[in-house]
Symmetry: C2
Subunit: 392 residues, 2 copies
Amino acid sequence: MIRKTRLFTPGPTPLLPAAQFAMAAADIHHRTPEFRALYTRVLAQLKEFVGTKNDVIILSSSGSGAMEASVSNLTSPGDRVLVLSAGKFGERWSGLCKAFGCEVDLVSKPYGQTFDLDEVKAALKPETRCVFLQANETSTGARHDVEAISKLLKDQKSEALLIVDGITGLGTSTLDMDAWGVDVLIGGSQKAVMIPPGLSYLAVSDRAWDRMEATHNPRYYFDLRKERKNAKNGESAYTPAVALIAALGAALDWIAAQADGNLVEGRKKLVDNAETIAAMTRAAVEAMGFKLFTNSPGAAATAVLAPEGVDSGLIVKELKSRFAAIITNGQGEMKGQIFRIAHLGFFDYMDTIALIGALEQVVVKSLPQLGAKFGDGLIAAQKVYAERTAAK
Amino acid sequence: MIRKTRLFTPGPTPLLPAAQFAMAAADIHHRTPEFRALYTRVLAQLKEFVGTKNDVIILSSSGSGAMEASVSNLTSPGDRVLVLSAGKFGERWSGLCKAFGCEVDLVSKPYGQTFDLDEVKAALKPETRCVFLQANETSTGARHDVEAISKLLKDQKSEALLIVDGITGLGTSTLDMDAWGVDVLIGGSQKAVMIPPGLSYLAVSDRAWDRMEATHNPRYYFDLRKERKNAKNGESAYTPAVALIAALGAALDWIAAQADGNLVEGRKKLVDNAETIAAMTRAAVEAMGFKLFTNSPGAAATAVLAPEGVDSGLIVKELKSRFAAIITNGQGEMKGQIFRIAHLGFFDYMDTIALIGALEQVVVKSLPQLGAKFGDGLIAAQKVYAERTAAK
């Protein structure tokens, strides 16, 4: 049988054709009026996509680079910071903060869980300078309640900056950074914006820009104030990934075009799309007898527990070898225990129902202990899709 | 919801990425050693793909151009020819033969049916110079028995040339032109070879080349002897569609790569692929309560009757508007009565199960008279796929 390779991974995600074409055509120099016009436009579009009045900075790096920029620009050695960690990317915040000499207080939950507000409240100290968390913990599929955390900080009259890794949260959930008082919100190119890896972006609040005047951790390539200054002239401080910026512009145009040119509405549609296909997927895997890994599932990706005694790698491997469908295993300590199916970005009904069909083939043939038969997952997904789209 | 446009049409069919890249890179002149090397290689590959020792000619035209070339090169005005017609493309043979002044004997069957050998035998006359038919009648989804017709001609010791439109038959069925004694076998680029429209190709027997010495219908652009002579030097008589030839080479490379570089085996795999997804589709539509249009279904496309009183255009329209899945309506007199789903070329399990899921959504919502519920079509397709791939 022909097998077309298809990504169902939570980054990189499937590429948008319009972005691929823009990338292929991006034969321009980065110190020209042509690039400055492009960059200025993309930065303005990104603000709308993020949904903020704050300045947005683009870095030619992966999302982890923007995470580092948040730490190196907003902390000084010896600063007390609070990290909320419930997965591999929570651990990355700890690692970064320690690398830059911060004193890290940790609210740590097991992989798959989300945070208890009382525990966060108890860990927050008057001297806490920054709070770091994920909007969506990609390694577990869990959505964290950023709104509640930000409210807690306000209620506590905390002066801590709230820094949110929205790398897989942006475009898959509502993140109203201005209304909630989030200080830094971070995104990545290979996620909901449907282009290849290589760019990160972050929206930065006035409070955070002010903080940078006094902090003194070392930073050079990731110096946000330098980038902000250059961005006002339509340029990046260092040679930017020009083709990816052209691709990002095309992708944001496409998202806007999904709602008659309104990028804010287009972003909402993207979130809605992810929510619907995540709901289809959750219903299907549960109907096949699997258990969801998290009780706080986000729409970026669905993490599913392998049955007792089965290495989740078997499912990943069979989907790849039999159907060329690429899903991901667990990361870190969850490797072998869970598998993850992505919904963020350029996925539609057809992709989703096909992946569920393929998973059903794997289940019926290789996981008889689940007792699933053909149709169990597919019918559940069909009903969810019909219900969610009936009203529209 | 995001909707990715997907072709499920029996030509153009979905493009192979490797062919798209080759097409984009094809910035070469057609009177250069570089092109001659490409053209010579592609012509040799095409012989293997067609499965013949005969010379193969490429024309920069659609398949209808190669059909015309068969008529204009192999007949003279006043020649008696036999056309076997059971659909729109059968009618095209009649139209072409009449345009070139032939006396047309016709075995005509209603759309959807195939031919009765006794009727063909009765229509065949000692003076019949050519017999024209389709291997697969794209307008109805019916497969005709080319082997039986060729055997009949041999048994009758007919001197008629057998000219077969294999435009959607090649790559979806076994067509052993050399063993069966087919004189001309015609293919098109936008079909099983997974590239855009614009090229046709035809394999021509020695008997047919000999016939051309004596025929005297007018031909110039489609002069096959001139093309054959130029092809021996690696060139086309007129400016060829260079990018499509590069794409065709890449596609044939890819087909060979499906079977460790063996193009003959790769072509068999392509046929097998189409057979499997056609079988999935037939099982699914019948399980949903539809009726197949033909009792001789080919693997190029499945033609399905709309329920009594329903315009098939409704199904075509809903699949497009709700899922961006493009199938085709009936052609000619079948418009509004049938819809057609393609299987030829670059389709896999994922495409097929997704289309069946989408069709099920349309059926459950808009065709309650069929009495189908979610899962009916999908389960039938899942079982067919599991059974057909279990042994492999």
